[in-house]
């Protein structure tokens, strides 16, 4: 079976700076794949290139056997891909409910949207309690939940999460990772970018280790967790 997402030798530039120096990886249906690596390794750049916010100079992004390298970001969403961006990027001036509804922007069927809304509220009861609150007044953890709930509203087959643990207390981090696991068990494929390598590897099936724009290592998450060089560099043991 062809992989759900295939990234083929992409190079991405910020002006003259080469941020990704030929990255290739794949994500299979049903998997949780983690991209780990230090700050500035290019993890977020990869996600932005996959969802179309950035365009690669060379290389291809293939999703569901379709070449989406040149597809604009707003169309990629309609193909069943959702992106929970780094720093949440919720619409802080709008209410929680408006934020969630914007996640279903491309969907037409009102009943199905209502069902998705119920699903999101079940997953994140806190969002229902605060649905009329202005999103900018939520706590960090709640904002992360909102960003995830908003992404789920597009009913994605594939969800990309960028640093969901950023700035959260250890307890909340565990809660968020449990939810990622549940979302995955529901049939959604997950591509997870994390600096918290230990947590990411603990729920991932496979992982890629990034170093300054190239993939340094890849493999089974369990194997990587036991790899001496990974342990030393990313698991602070």
């Amino acid at each position: 079976m062809a992989p759900l997402l295939q990234v083929d030798n992409i190079e991405v530039y910020y002006g003259v700076i080469k941020a990704l120096k030929g990255i290739s990886f794949e994500v299979n249906k049903g998997e949780i794949v983690a991209l780990i690596g230090a700050n500035g390794a290019g993890k977020t750049t990869i996600l932005h290139t996959v969802t179309g916010l950035l365009k690669p100079k060379t290389g291809k992004v293939i999703y569901n056997e379709k070449d989406i390298t040149k597809t604009p970001a707003h169309k990629i969403v309609t193909m069943g891909m959702a992106h929970v961006p780094e720093g949440r990027r919720i619409f802080s001036q709008l209410s929680v409910l408006d934020n969630i509804k914007l996640g279903a922007f491309t969907r037409k069927d009102k009943d199905e949207i209502e069902q998705s809304l119920k699903y999101v509220y079940e997953r994140f009861p806190r969002l229902e309690e605060r649905k009329n609150q202005i999103a900018g007044t939520l706590s960090g953890g709640e904002q992360q939940m909102l960003a995830m709930g908003r992404a789920l509203m597009s009913k994605p087959d594939f969800i990309l999460m960028d640093e969901p643990s950023m700035g959260l207390s250890p307890l909340l981090v565990s809660e968020i990772f449990d939810i990622i696991k549940v979302i995955n068990e529901g049939g959604t494929t997950v591509l997870l970018v994390e600096q918290n390598a230990k947590k990411a590897l603990s729920i991932a099936d496979r992982a890629y280790v990034l170093e300054t724009g190239t993939i340094a290592l890849s493999g089974n998450a369990q194997d990587l967790m036991n790899d001496e060089s990974v342990k030393k560099a990313y698991l602070s043991e």
Binding site: T51, G52, L53, P72, A73, H74, K75, V77, T78, A82, H83, P85, R89, I90, F91, S92, Q93, L94, D98, K101, L102, G103, F105, T106, R150, A151, S154
Partner: protein, 293 residues
């Protein structure tokens, strides 16, 4: 009673400023640019209505629709040709382009319609209503201006807050990238914003020239700059801010005219702009700018 008359006339003038300021503030909110050609769209709209009325002999309502449609298209075309290629350029380049578009519109109008001024016939009749035994006289223009502005402002507020497109506009104005991730077409949203802003400018043109019936290629320049001042006063980027700022500015201008000096009224209006920029650059309802890291 003189004071009350001055206030009513000020509210009428201010609602015109508010309609224009809405275009400034919406475009600023979404495209993060100051469209200094916005004032000249008013002039184009007024000329179109003038031609429709005098040369084509259309009914006033049809004249307004004709001018509004032309301006809506014009706004979208300006955005596509002049501003869209500069989406990633520095804001200074966009600003200079906007000034260029403004000159282009003024000079094209001069070429087509001549530099001389024309007398615009009110589209709303010339009658008056007198209250309190003739102590207050309100023209039909004033009443229509205030009513039309209020209806448009309520309609626009409902549109922004209740429709999907409106909420998409708010989302784009806050975070273009995140909006795209929701499946919102940012370019389309910007086009819609320019279309709405330009349509409001055309209506403002009809109201303005019906009350102040001199039409020339530079007719839009002064109200455009004053509406910009109103948008800054209310807080640029804020829709209710533009409404409040516009009406406030109209009232201040008119009261200055009545009680201080006609010649000084413009100086007072622009003095307000300077004071706001010095004291509270975010305006009355403006939000604090969060610098993104």
């Amino acid at each position: 009673m003189e004071f009350l008359s001055a206030i009513i006339a000020g509210i009428s003038l201010g609602s015109i400023y508010a309609l224009i300021a809405l275009g400034y503030t919406m475009v600023y909110g979404i495209a993060k640019m100051l469209n200094f050609a916005h004032g000249d769209v008013i002039m184009v709209g007024a000329f179109m209505m003038f031609i429709a009325l005098t040369k084509m002999g259309l009914h006033p309502i049809l004249c307004i629709i004709f001018g509004t449609v032309i301006c809506t298209i014009l706004g979208v075309v300006i955005e596509k040709l002049a501003y869209k290629p500069l989406r990633k350029a520095t804001s200074l380049a966009v600003l200079i382009t906007a000034i260029g578009v403004s000159y282009f519109l003024q000079n094209s109008a001069q070429l087509i319609f001549g530099a001389g001024s024309k007398t615009f016939t009110s589209l709303f009749g010339s009658g008056n209503i007198s209250l309190f035994d003739g102590q207050i006289i309100i023209s039909h223009n004033t009443i229509v201006t205030i009513c039309v502005s209020v209806i448009i402002m309520i309609g626009l507020t409902l549109f922004i807050n209740k429709t999907k497109t409106g909420r998409a506009m708010l989302a784009v104005s806050e975070d273009k990238g995140a909006a795209q991730l929701m499946g919102i077409n940012v370019n389309k949203t910007i086009s819609i914003t320019f279309a709405i802003g330009s349509a409001l400018a055309a209506i403002a043109g009809a109201l303005l020239c019906s009350s102040y019936p001199i039409l020339s290629p530079t007719t839009g320049a002064m109200p455009g700059i004053k509406a910009f001042t109103a948008a800054v006063l209310g807080g640029i980027g804020s829709i209710p801010g533009a409404m409040i700022g516009g009406i406030l500015l109209g009232v201040i201008e008119n009261i200055s005219k009545v009680y201080i000096s006609t010649q000084l009224s413009d100086a007072i209006v622009f003095g307000i702009l300077i004071i706001i920029l010095l004291v509270k650059p975010t305006g009355i309802l403006g939000k604090k700018m969060n610098e993104k890291v």
